[in-house]
């Protein structure tokens, strides 16, 4: 149970060098007369930043809350203030229940000490008592998978072992309120899975409140009941996690879905081809205007055409992934057309492209081999992830994610014959 009321956090920027002592002195001198020296400093126009501005919300017991936002939106600052690591400039937070914050794995690990010593040291720092660690010790060691190196100084560990041991301690915390900041992105994919499963298990327990920051939307969708969107230190919106995630993804998607030129003279092209309009029209599946893997995309193209002598025309569509790899190259049939406005269409079906960023180039070819015009990178779009009925949180690999059936059947139920 946490109640956050009007929290703001102000950071002074700039150098903290030789002028420091004088500045401190004059601030102190001013504060002798009035109590509001710090509020003053903010209005003095010196370089500063409001990392958080007037953030208020409430978290009920047993709720799992996600915070979404770009880097620098204030998510981490907010978690740090609730964890008592840094002080708010204004506002107040009240709460009930023991807090453990996990802003990093392996906090306080000492390089020279053994894994065993570090389990205790780190566990105590995270607020566990000796009894709690003793009773969970075997489970921690088991989870980490480093039994054989338990009495080796951690500086001899590989970075993977180090992270596994560190997370193993964190995974066995049993506070009433758990604060987690993007720590699940460490380690290899397999271990990340294990961590997320553990997180799900932990957050599902009765009465456990979790505040959670992650860039892994699949994890947020699976773990959180509610989510808040932070933008430049301001709490923009809060609501059901699904809706907030869709909204955030939509706002942060970089699209370039349409180009339109009313006059041929101003349009890109050459003597034979002038582009009038090229547009990608998404068939949104939900209420949110979000392109995800379930969204079919209709490509529409209109151009002014003047054939070079006697010739036919092929229009080809190249779809590239952001890496530059071509995902597909589809083209129209050879068609003989007269001078005038031409319309071309193509539909990229739903459940075909995987999540990721893509761009489209269009090629105009006459007589099969002669390239008339290449309209490069004319459209760009992002596809967001969407998964149902799965607890797999990792990146789904591949450029395409078609909905092909994969069958599985028992051939001989009686044995290996």
């Amino acid at each position: 149970m946490i109640k956050v009321e009007g929290i703001s956090k102000y950071y002074r920027l700039g150098t903290q060098g030789s002028g420091r002592l004088r500045e401190d002195w004059s601030n102190w001198w001013k504060s002798v007369g009035r109590k509001s020296a710090r509020a003053d400093a903010s209005s003095q126009g010196e370089a500063h930043i409001w990392a958080l501005k007037d953030v208020s919300f409430e978290v009920g017991e047993g709720e799992v809350i996600g915070f979404i936002g770009k880097n620098g939106a204030g998510k981490s600052t907010l978690l740090k203030i609730i964890s008592r690591i840094t002080q708010p400039t204004q506002g107040r937070i009240r709460g009930r229940g023991r807090i453990a914050s996990l802003l990093e794995v392996g906090t306080g690990f000492h390089q020279e000490l053994t894994g065993r010593e570090n389990i205790y040291l780190n566990g105590h720092m995270l607020g566990m008592t000796r009894r709690e660690i003793d009773s969970q010790f075997d489970a921690i060691v088991d989870f980490s998978g480093v039994e054989t190196f338990l009495d080796t100084p951690v500086k001899r560990y590989s970075s993977g072992m180090y992270v596994r041991l560190a997370f193993a301690v964190a995974a066995h915390l049993t506070p009433e309120i758990l604060i987690v900041d993007e720590v699940l992105s460490v380690g290899d994919a397999e271990f990340q899975q294990k961590c997320l499963r553990k997180m799900k298990e932990v957050s599902g327990q009765e009465g456990r409140t979790v505040l959670f920051v992650s860039h892994n939307m699949q994890a947020l969708r699976n773990l959180c009941h509610r989510a808040y969107i932070l933008e430049h230190g301001v709490l923009v919106e809060g609501g059901p996690a699904d809706r907030m995630i869709a909204r955030y993804l939509r706002d942060s998607q970089v699209h370039f879905l349409r180009q339109f030129y009313p006059e041929p003279a101003l349009a890109p092209g050459n003597d034979h081809i002038r582009i009038k309009r090229v547009e990608l029209i998404p068939a949104y599946s939900g209420a949110e205007e979000l392109i995800d893997i379930r969204t079919a995309l209709q490509l529409e193209l209109e151009f002014w055409y003047e054939p070079p002598g006697v010739s036919d025309l092929i229009v080809g569509i190249h779809l590239f992934a952001l890496t530059g790899d071509c995902v597909f190259d589809v083209s129209s049939s050879r068609t003989t057309l007269d001078k005038g406005l031409v319309k071309c269409g193509c539909r990229i079906p739903a459940n075909f492209l995987n999540d990721g960023s893509y761009y489209i180039s269009i090629v105009f070819v006459s007589n099969t081999t002669h390239r008339l015009f290449y309209f490069e990178s004319c459209l760009a779009f992002e596809v967001a992830d969407y998964r149902e009925h799965t607890s797999w949180y990792g990146k789904w690999i591949g450029y395409v994610r078609p909905d092909f059936k994969v069958t599985l059947e028992a051939l001989n139920p009686d044995g290996y014959v």
């Binding site: 950071y11 203030i81 690591i85 009240r94 709460g95 040291l121 000796r130």
Partner: protein
């Protein structure tokens, strides 16, 4: 309805001079002892002599002083055998200076941890002083061994009732180092220049304290000012309680104790007042 609810904790932007929250420390005793243990374990990793350095370091210093101040410069030791005289000064001074220099960088050396997890920050300087206390106990054992040898040979008189106060002297020396260290820890985090000047000041302070000379040398016109340094009466008291039957300078001793408690209270207040804001600077 919301007003009826009971809140267990509150975070606000105010600074508190006197909200020391010392009551939270017993809950964290496991962490405190673990930090002491870390300090003692980690310091002697990958050294050949390991914990023997606790003894070797004061012994080597003692021999050095014996050569320089005992035989070359010939500073008086007030009738006390030079070896035990120097050793008493060295272990008292080192305890103080190790407590001080171990705690005055609290924020700088722990910024990585303080930036990621909350626990009562006072635990860290406290653990340093406790770890130094363990070292001090080992060194005291060495001192009394040497003292015993000289006693058997009849070079030192049996001490009077004063030795019962020795634990108090040692405690005060440690708390004095802690108090000054707490005051400085906030300043070293804000003004990095102090890194350089403090090493120098600490050396100067040692020369102003009766480590290798008896406090009686601090007489004369300005001698009184040197007695204002609490380390002077504390080291002197340590020697008086060990080597004298009749105890003098008791007034100075109690005054030093009072000064120690005042410095410690100021240190804790200053530390608590700034412990959260300092994190944004380091």
């Amino acid at each position: 309805m919301a007003e009826i609810e009971e809140w267990e904790w509150e975070i606000d932007p105010r600074y508190h001079w006197f909200k020391w929250e010392l009551g939270a420390i017993p809950q964290y005793k496991d962490l405190l002892f673990r930090l002491v243990r870390r300090d003692l374990l980690a310091n002697y990793q990958q050294t050949i002599l390991g914990p023997f350095w606790i003894l070797l370091q004061p012994v080597l210093t003692m021999l050095l002083y014996w050569v320089i101040f005992g035989t070359i410069v010939k500073v008086s030791t007030n009738g006390i055998p030079p070896l035990v005289f120097y050793l008493s000064g060295i272990i008292c001074w080192n305890f103080f200076s190790d407590c001080l220099s171990g705690t005055m960088y609290t924020f700088i050396h722990n910024s990585a941890v303080f930036g990621k997890v909350w626990f009562p920050r006072l635990l860290v300087p406290l653990s340093v002083v406790l770890a130094q206390g363990v070292r001090m106990l080992v060194q005291l054992a060495l001192f009394f061994l040497l003292y015993g040898i000289f006693y058997v040979r009849g070079d030192v008189p049996a001490s009077g009732i004063g030795w019962l106060l020795l634990p108090v002297v040692v405690l005060w020396i440690g708390l004095f180092g802690l108090g000054v260290g707490l005051l400085l820890s906030v300043l070293t985090a804000r003004y990095r220049d102090l890194d350089y000047s403090l090493q120098f000041i600490l050396r100067l302070w040692m020369f102003a304290s009766p480590v290798f000379y008896p406090a009686q040398l601090l007489s004369g016109k300005y001698g009184f000012f040197l007695w204002l340094n609490p380390m002077t009466p504390l080291i002197e008291a340590f020697r008086v309680f060990c080597f004298r039957r009749e105890v003098d300078h008791v007034g100075y001793f109690w005054a030093a104790g009072g000064a120690v408690l005042v410095v410690l209270a100021m240190g804790i207040a200053f530390f608590k007042r700034h412990e959260e804001s300092v994190n944004d600077i380091v």
